[in-house]
Each structure stands twice: as C-alpha cells, then as structure tokens.
Point group: C2
Chain length 413, copies 2
C-alpha cells in the first residue's frame, strides 16, 4: 500500500518533460536487510571473525591512493608468507577463486597450447573447460573419486601429451582428497611444462611450499582458511611462469585479468608509476589484509598443526559413531591424503542426505553440505577452516550428526 | 625485533618432519590496519554512508543459502528499478565495472563478429580492446574529447560497418560528457545491431530508461551513484540480447562470466534448481542491496533532480571563480551534455594540476582527480555522486579550489 502511494507521488511529479517511470520502486527493498548467523561448517565460505568483518567496514578510499598501495603491499607480503614464496609476481585478483583460476589459465595458455588437467573431482573439470574455451588442446588424467594420481601416472601423461601447463587441485574439496604434491613440480619442469596448483581449499590448513615444491602458479580464495568474505583471490606466478606470460604471441582474452596490467596495479613490475587498470575492491582488500595478519600472528606451522590435529580428532569421532570416511586410504605423514580442512563422510546408509543437511541447519543452525560434481549423493561434506577449526566445533558437529541420525527418517532397506 | 623472536620460535619447532619455512611472517602485518577518512570527490569510488558499510559487515552466509537467494532477488528488483527495465535477465556480476564490460562483450560477441565502438574517451577504447582480444572485427567512431556523436554520425557508421554490437558510454567520466541516448537504440535495431551502454558514471544521477530507450545491454558499478564499495556490477540483458547470447555457435571465452551460468545462479532462467557456479561475494551483495534500498527510498526522479540541481550550482560556482568547464556546449534539457555526476574543469592556466590535487588532498582532506586517457593534463575532475551530491559539498570543493589557486605555484607565463 505504501509502495503505491510512493509510486503515485513520482508518477505525478515528473521532472521537466521526462517520461514517467515504468518500473516503480520495489516493495521488497522497503524491508530491512536481515542476515541470519549460521555456523558455516560447509566447504566454504567459512565464518568471518568480527575483527575481519570490521576491517571491511572501514571508509572507502581511492583505488589509486598511496594508502591503498601500502595495504596492497602488506597483502602481497602476507600472501608470500602464506604461499612460502619469494615471487615478486604475487597479488590478489579482484574476484573469487574462479576468477583466479581464469587469471592463471588466461595468462599462461595461448590458443593451440596443450594443457593437461588432473581430474580427481570438480576443479580439474572446470580448469579443463576454461582452457578449452580459449582454444587450448586439453587432455585429462582422471583419478577415481576419493583417489589420487601417482607421480608415475603423471609422468606418463606429461611424456605423452607434452603439455605447456599441468593443472592439479591440491585440496579437492568435492571429494575430500589432499593430493600429494612432492616431486610433481620437478617432473613438470623435466618436461618443460608449467605447474599450476589450485589450493583454494587447502592452503593455510596443511603444509605447502610454493618455491620448494616448484609450483609455477598458485592461487586460493579469501573465504576458506583465511576466513575473509569471498571476493578476493590471492595468486602468485614464478619467474618461469612470467617468462611464458610476458613472451606470449597473443594477448590474453581478458583485459581485466591481463597480468601485464595487474602486475602494474600491484606494483609487481619495475615501472615507476601505476596506471589505472580497474577499481580494486578496496574494502575487500582491508578484510583480506586483516585475515593475512591473523594467519601471520598464529604462524603458518601452528595453523597447519591445528587443522591436522582437529581433523584427526574429527575423523576419529566420526568413525567411533560408525560413520565412514569417503577417502579410504590413511597413510601417515607426509603423504596424508585426507584434507584436514574439508572432510567427506560417506552418506549414511538408508538415510536421505538432503534430509540430514536440512535437519542440521534447522535444528542446530549449522551448515554442512552435500557432495559436489562426482561426489553428489555419495557424501556429506564438513569444512572446519581457519577459526572454525577447533575441537569445540568438532564436538558440535558430532552432536548434530548424532542427533540427525536419531531423528531423520531411515528406510527399512 | 619481535618478528625475529616469533620466527625463531617456528623455525625451531617444525611440525613432524616438514621442512622449515623459508619466508618468515611479514613484520608489516604486525601493524594494525589504518584507513584514513577522505572526502571522496573524485570520479569514484565515492564515500559510502555508514548504513551501507554496516550492511556489508553482517555475518557471511552461504552463496547457495535460501537467504542469499532472497537478497539476490531483492537486488534484481532494485536494479530493474534503477535501470527502468522489465528484463528478466538482470543481475549483478561479482566484480567491478570492467568485469561487467567483459561480461557484456564476452556473451554477445563471437569471434569474427563486427563490433562498433563509439570512442569519446577511455571507455570506448577499452570496449574496443576487449572485443579485439576475443577476435571481433572492431571499428570505432571517434568524437573529439569533450564532444559527442550525433545520431547521423552513428547511423552512417552502422550502415557502413553493419556491426552485431554497438558500444556507447553514456557517462564518459574521462571527459565529463553525458552522451545523448535518444533514438540510438532504434537506429541500432533498424540495422539489426545490439545496443550496449556503459552507464557506470551516469546512472542514478541522470534520466535513463533502458526499455524505452531500447538499450539491449546496460551495466554500471556499485561505487558511483550507488555509494556501495567497489566489487559488484549491476547488468541487464534485453530479450533481443538474450536471443543472441543463447543461440551462439561458440562458448564465451569465460566460464566465470558465461551468462548461461550466471542466469541460473541469479534465478533468471526457468530451471527449477540452481547449480553451483561460483562463490558470490555475499557481503558485497548485502551492501549492494542496501545501496539500492537507499535509491528506492529517495526515488529515482528525486535523485536525478538532485544531481542536476547540484551540478548546475557547482558549474555556476566554478564559472563565477573564472574557471572553465571542459564540456563547452550547454544545451537545455533534455539534451544536456554535461555529466551531472562528474565535472571536468579545464586545468587552470599557469598551474600544475598535480600540485592542485595534492594541495587539496593535503590541506582539505578531499580527493579530486586529474584527467584520464584523452583528458590527462587537460582537466581536473570532480565527482559528486549519490550522497556526495549536495550543495554543502559543492561549497567545500569551491572553497578548496579557491584556496588552492591562491596557494599553489603559478608560473609567470
């Protein structure tokens, strides 16, 4: 009713000789924004601590002000620490993990290049699709859901396809696999191939050493272990990757993601001045800086250890309830293949996994998730990342699962 | 010093048999984040009211939760109102204005298509570059900086090049020109061409009617008249544009910006369920919703009128100080060609424009900007957008300029 009066007011007071509005102000926007608080224990985004949310509510400054350049420089140092890299070409893309994935592929791949993607879940499929869209010749090596590839598998494929780029998801959050990385960078370089690693779901929660492991391009998202809101994506390019990027024959398809421009905006090139490229999401940069500061305060190794200890506690608790983990193999460190950040639980036999999810959200205000891609229908996924990775939260999840198994419908089959 | 002790601690307590860290935690992140408050009177980003900043500090929820789908639906209604369109295919891209520009071009243009770009400043140049990168045959029609194209110029070019897409910047913020729109959509359709309009700097501050003016693709950014932080970009596609997009022979180069996927994520297609595409920047969506609510509360026509009245007051004040406006022609409504949101002032004779900018920032804590692209060195740019568009702020800018002209160095020439 109010909306109609509002509308009548404007319709009867046109400015000058302008035509009147054909679309009235929407009534839904008269209601205040209401955002519930949930325990975000799915595979991401994860809960954002007040400290990081508040950082993002600081006043907006210009995307070319000296103050934002200093914040961006701090972010760069934070990413170098998180990634364990000295790479000069280290920055955050103004977008989510998918934007970083496209940034990596658009800049390092030219039409006609051969690309090899390891597919052990959804991320390898998406990387393959992105490379295909820009005209690469794409081959895949597929691991069964919940499994991983051996270095022998990988070397065989590198030797057969001679790709310019090899993609691998370190933390395959759709299946819960932490893919071993050791020796793969060295294999890629033996075959003159760049090594691209997606660490969106893993980094910060488990050891990763970009330089020592000879990873050429590495990226992540802000909303996982970092506990910042989604919207920025750290990425880094090795010297070897830059050699390829800056000696291309063709321009990358995207102006927005062209590393020549991004490098200048982030002060990663040697040019004395920065040229306007795009308007960086400055408030998202504040949150990202804060989240990197939190990680640096705790210390990477402490964070890794905490995630591993909590995951082991969680996995033992699940097994003692009679639930099964989707990733079967349990090898000792350093070749642990269960992600400590995202756990895949075999969908409990005789139950509807959707009902379990909904029950837990409704009754315990707690998000857990179903499968994704090849694991849809097969698993429940629980993410305990960054500040969410604690034994107290494990206890909360285990209690919720126990309660769900008691109250959800179970078929007689 | 603290940093070193910190580092020593970790180096001496490696977890298991992992190699020690080669990159220590950066000292710069031990300092708290400090963000100054400036009057953001450049061409954007503009100041964000506390109400909108606070909306963005709400807790993170999932990118596929029913609550976020409701917020996205509200955003969609708000954009339809702001754009004056009934288009079902209306959403916000997870990125800045440049992302929306690429989203528009990537989806509507196929390799080999002919594209025509009106260049009357930097935006036309960038659109042309984006289309070239994906293999379009690009032609441009160029207006002199500060000028604009007539419908006769445009029809001649349409008839000559027979483009599939015509790009025009409505608010050319680099030169301060508000380009007339009337009749151009109809001309494009006469030549079977889609009409793409960049309204990043103009919409909400001056009349624009997407449907009535037969615009096929329209986009803007969150950080201008809307006064939200940069990071989301409203966009809308007409039925005619969708016909082209959904009957392409090739896939768009970007998976992230593929309208098939975005349409599903935003509930703009007729599919019963939404499939995971990417992790939307949920907190940026909160701010965007709030900014659209602010606009709906004031009412579009009131907002247009306020921006125009304030701009006229500003322009009169500048002229009474002896300053000249870069956009010479001053025609009466409805063909006003000076942007009411971003004003370009001819760089005062005998002064160094950079010194004026710095002086005003240092002394008055107020951002104004130099030229961009074709206007570099020629102008100063002042943006008064959204909540910043008020006579009080005009008085503040005029006082700062008066002060700068008194205190900055003036050559004897």
């Amino acid at each position: 009713q109010e909306g109609s009066i509002f509308w009548f007011y404007f319709a009867s007071h046109p400015v000058g000789n302008m035509p009147s509005l054909s679309v009235p102000p929407p009534k839904c926007l008269q209601k205040p924004l209401v955002v519930p608080h949930h325990h975000m224990f799915g595979p991401g985004p994860s809960n954002v601590p007040p400290r990081i949310l508040e950082a993002g509510a600081n006043p907006v400054i210009g995307h070319m002000h000296p103050e934002i350049f200093e914040i961006m420089s701090d972010i760069k140092s934070g990413i170098q620490y998180m990634f364990q890299t000295q790479n000069k070409m280290t920055l955050a893309v103004s977008g989510t993990g998918h934007t970083a994935m496209e940034c990596a592929i658009f800049n390092t791949v030219e039409p006609g290049d051969s690309v090899l993607a390891a597919v052990n879940g959804i991320w390898g499929e998406r990387a393959a699709e992105m490379a295909e869209r820009i005209g690469a010749k794409v081959n895949t090596i597929v691991a069964p859901p919940g499994g991983y590839l051996t270095n022998t598998d990988i070397e065989k494929a590198l030797s057969k396809h001679r790709p310019a780029l090899f993609f691998l998801a370190h933390g395959e959050s759709s299946t819960g696999v932490l893919h071993p990385l050791d020796g793969i960078g060295q294999l890629c370089h033996k075959y003159n191939c760049l090594f691209l690693v997606d660490s969106v779901a893993s980094i910060g929660g488990t050891p990763l050493y970009m330089d020592q492991q000879e990873i050429d391009i590495l990226y992540t998202g802000s909303q996982k272990v970092l506990n910042a809101p989604p919207g920025t994506a750290p990425i880094s390019f090795s010297e070897r990757a830059c050699q390829k990027v800056f000696n291309r024959r063709t321009k990358p398809v995207s102006f927005f993601l062209d590393l020549n421009w991004l490098a200048n905006y982030w002060g990663c090139d040697d040019k004395p001045t920065r040229v306007y490229h795009h308007t960086g999401p400055v408030t998202a940069f504040y949150s990202l800086r804060e989240s990197l500061a939190v990680l640096a305060e705790e210390g990477l190794e402490n964070s890794w250890e905490r995630h591993e200890t909590v995951a082991e506690y969680f996995h033992a608790g699940l097994e003692s309830m009679g639930l099964k983990l989707f990733v079967k193999e349990k090898v000792r460190k350093p070749t642990l293949t269960r992600l400590p950040t995202v756990t895949t639980i075999v969908a409990p036999y005789g139950y509807d996994w959707k009902e379990i999810m909904s029950y837990i959200m409704k009754t315990h205000n707690l998000e857990i998730s179903g499968g994704l891609g090849p694991s849809v229908g097969l698993v429940l996924r629980v993410g305990l990342m960054g500040c969410n990775s604690s034994k107290a939260n494990v206890d909360m999840v285990l209690a919720a699962l126990r309660d769900a198994l008691k109250h959800c419908h179970r078929s007689k089959v």
